[in-house]
Every structure is written in structure tokens, then in C-alpha cells.
Amino acid sequence: MTHKATEVTIVAEKVIQEQIVEIIERAGATGYTILEGSGKGQHARRTHERPSVAGDAFDIVKIEAILGDRAAAEQVADEVANTLFTHYSGIVYLEEVEILRRARFWR
């Protein structure tokens, strides 16, 4: 049997990874997953293949956290958008997913 939960996804510059993770943890998430990628948006395109001559701060990371509580997920999304995306690159969105082992996602 599955349960409803909300996944919040953030695609952003690696330089703010730690700050995003902090917001996610403060909102009560039991975990998160980080994938490294590349991307193009309003700012310069970054590719993952070229050597990181200017450091890896400009790499793109995709951070996903599933929260049992939808309000908490929305809070993460709002906080990231309002405090970090004013100057740094990134997008944030929510999805409804169906989880197994519900207790795993509540703290």
C-alpha cells in the first residue's frame, strides 16, 4: 500500500548546495538525494564534461527531497525561491508521489 507524499526538487548552482540542504533539513525532511548534472537556463550554460577551471561552484546539482507533509515541502520551495534564487541560478518545483513505508518520511 502506498501513501501520498510531496517531492520538492531544486535545480541550482552547486555553490548554494549546502544552504539548500540546510533549508531541507530544517523543514523536517528525513533525507535528500543529490544528482550532479549540467543545464541551461537564463544564465550561461554549464557542462559537466569540461574541466572545472573556475571551480565546481558553478556546476548544476539537482536536489530532491520527499516529505510526508505537503506544507513542509511548500515551505522548502518558498524559502529556497525567496532567499536563494534572488541572486543565484535555479528552479524549484513540487510533485505528488506515492511512497511506501510511510514512517520513513516523517520525523
Binding site: 548552482e13 555553490v15 550561461a44 569540461r50 574541466p51 571551480g55 558553478f58 541572486h87
Partner: protein, 334 residues
């Protein structure tokens, strides 16, 4: 006139040497659309190897150096790092279309130091038979950190003025963050190991013999990246490109002048003066950009990275190094 002719000769001579040749070769193949990529892991390992080599050599030599000899050059390094940023802060934001934050961050990056440029200069001097104190390259952080800190402080002050809010810029975290970066960590660890242990066996069998060859690969990478980032530069005000052309040489000459004083005052070698000029001339690639991105979020990275990687670094290596070398010929009769 004679000096100019000497520079021209030196420059043409350097074009034939691997350092410059690989840099220009990288720019060339990137311009022709080559898909050659040196993997990131290799790039990072090369930078580690070069900085460890520089640190070890410096540490082993500091053992026998007079602390007094080092003091004045170190002071000059700090002074030049700060002067560059003050100058850039004064000039850049006045130029039309240049945002204050972008100007400050760019000045900070040009005040900071590039390990690859430094290593390139060391190889050139070695090939020319010009000797220098092995601790001079280790002055790197004395110019790098003050420049980054000052730029971040300027940005903080500017932002306060804008927003009215009073928020003090804390300096120590910036310094600590710089020291912890991968580049300075490797350099300082090498320095410590050179100073307090006996790394001669690995230095002689590994770090030193690979230095020149690895540098040629790094030059190729820097050349490819220089071309690749020109596109970014095109999206920002043209003044950044102009600054990136002129500033490395101005900074190098400034340091060359102050270094010459140290030559007469405390006996800094001509090779040391040249290296000091190169350090000033260089602009940070690896460690500077992430520090600035984190600390001055309002600044557009395309402005400072574009101008530094695409124009500043090639200028410092291709024009700066031969220039200070021929100045050395001229001033010190090398």
C-alpha cells in the same frame, strides 16, 4: 627602444617554448571547434601536483632562508594585492555599463593569484636559467587572500550603502575559506612538509620531474578554456575585456617596481622580482571564482570569470611573462 626589441625577441622566443606553445595551441584548437577535452579529474590532479611541487620546494628552501629576507617581499605581496583591488574598485565601476558589484568582483579576481600562471613562469625561468628563491612562489597566498578579502569587504560596504542595513563583513571566515580551498591547501601542506619533514626522495623522483610535462597539459587546458569562455565575455560590457587586457601588465609592472626596491633593499634575486611581477600579473582561476560567487552573489560571474579566463590569464602568461623577463634582462643585466 632596445628594451622593446628585447621584449619582442623574448616574446618570439617564448612562442617556441612548450609553455606558451601549448597555451596558444589550446586556444587554436578550441577556436577550430575541437572536441578535445582533458578530463576534470586529470585537471584537478595536475593542479594538485603543481602546487604540491611549489610548496615542497618552497618549504625545503625556507629551512635555510633568513626570515628577514622573506619579510619585505611578503609585505610587497600584501600591498600589491590590496593596491590592485583599490585601483580596480576606483576605476571599473566608473566605466559606463559596469555594475559596481561586477567591477569589485573583477578587481578581486585580478588581485588574486593563478597557480597555473605562476607555474608557467617558474618553468620559463628554469629554462632560461634564471634562478630565484624557491620561497618566492610560496608568497602566493600573501597576495591572493588580501585581494579577495578586500574585494569582499568593498562589496559589503557597497551593499550596506545601497540597502541602508548595517551588516558587518566578517573577515576571518573569508580568510579561512581561502586557506581551505583546494589550491592553497595543497600549497600550504607542501610548504609544511617541505619545512618540517624530508620529502626530498619523492620530490626528486616524482613531483619535480613531472612538473614541466604536467604544466604543458595544464597550459593546453587553460588555452581551451580561454577560448571557450570568450562567449561569456561577449555578454557583458566591453570595458571588462579592455580591463583584462591592460590590468595584468599594469599590475605586473607595479610589482616589478616594488620588487626592484626589495632587490636593492634586502637582496631579492632578479628571478624573485620577476616572479613577484608574475604573481601580481596573474588572476585567479580555481580558487577565486567560487569564493567570490559565494561572497558577492550580486556580481555576475560571466563578467569576472570571462575577463579573467579568456583574456587576463592568456595576457599574463603570453605577454606578461616575456615582458618581465626582458625587463629583468634590461634592469638587472641578466
Amino acid at each position: 627602444m632596445e628594451a622593446l626589441a628585447d621584449f619582442a625577441l623574448t616574446f618570439v622566443g617564448q612562442l617556441q617554448k612548450p609553455t606558451l606553445a601549448f597555451l596558444l595551441g589550446g586556444m587554436l584548437i578550441a577556436a577550430l571547434g575541437s572536441k578535445l577535452v582533458i578530463p576534470d579529474a586529470v585537471y584537478r590532479f595536475i593542479v594538485f601536483m603543481l602546487l604540491m611541487r611549489i610548496g615542497l620546494a618552497g618549504g625545503m628552501e625556507i629551512r635555510n632562508a633568513e626570515p628577514g629576507d622573506i619579510f619585505l617581499p611578503a609585505l610587497i605581496a600584501v600591498a600589491v594585492g590590496c593596491l590592485i583591488v583599490i585601483l580596480g574598485r576606483a576605476v571599473l565601476p566608473r566605466l559606463p555599463g559596469v555594475k559596481v558589484e561586477d567591477g569589485i568582483a573583477t578587481a578581486g579576481l585580478f588581485g588574486a593569484v593563478s597557480a597555473s600562471t605562476l607555474a608557467a613562469a617558474m618553468v620559463v625561468l628554469d629554462e632560461e636559467g634564471v634562478v630565484y628563491e624557491a620561497w618566492v612562489p610560496a608568497l602566493y597566498p600573501f597576495m591572493d587572500i588580501p585581494a579577495l578579502v578586500l574585494a569582499i569587504v568593498f562589496a559589503g560596504i557597497h551593499q550596506q550603502r545601497q540597502s541602508g542595513a548595517h551588516k558587518r563583513v566578517r573577515i576571518w571566515p573569508i580568510v579561512a575559506d581561502s586557506l581551505r580551498g583546494s589550491a592553497l591547501s595543497a600549497l600550504l601542506l607542501g610548504l609544511l612538509l617541505g619545512l618540517f619533514t624530508r620529502p626530498e626522495s619523492v620530490f626528486d623522483s616524482f613531483y619535480d620531474p613531472l612538473f614541466k610535462g604536467l604544466l604543458s597539459v595544464l597550459m593546453l587546458i587553460m588555452g581551451i578554456e580561454a577560448y571557450a569562455r570568450l562567449a561569456e565575455l561577449r555578454r557583458v560590457a566591453h570595458w571588462f575585456a579592455l580591463y583584462a587586457f591592460v590590468a595584468p601588465l599594469v599590475h605586473g609592472l607595479l610589482a616589478f617596481g616594488l620588487g626592484t626596491l626589495a632587490h636593492y633593499a634586502t637582496g631579492l634575486s632578479p628571478g624573485g622580482v620577476i616572479l613577484l611581477a608574475v604573481i601580481a600579473s596573474s588572476n585567479s582561476d580555481i580558487s577565486g571564482p567560487p569564493t567570490l560567487r559565494a561572497a558577492i552573489p550580486a556580481a555576475n560571474p560571466s563578467a569576472y570569470i570571462g575577463s579573467s579566463t579568456s583574456i587576463g590569464t592568456p595576457m599574463a602568461i603570453a605577454v606578461g611573462i616575456p615582458l618581465y623577463l626582458s625587463l629583468g634582462h634590461w634592469v638587472f643585466g641578466l
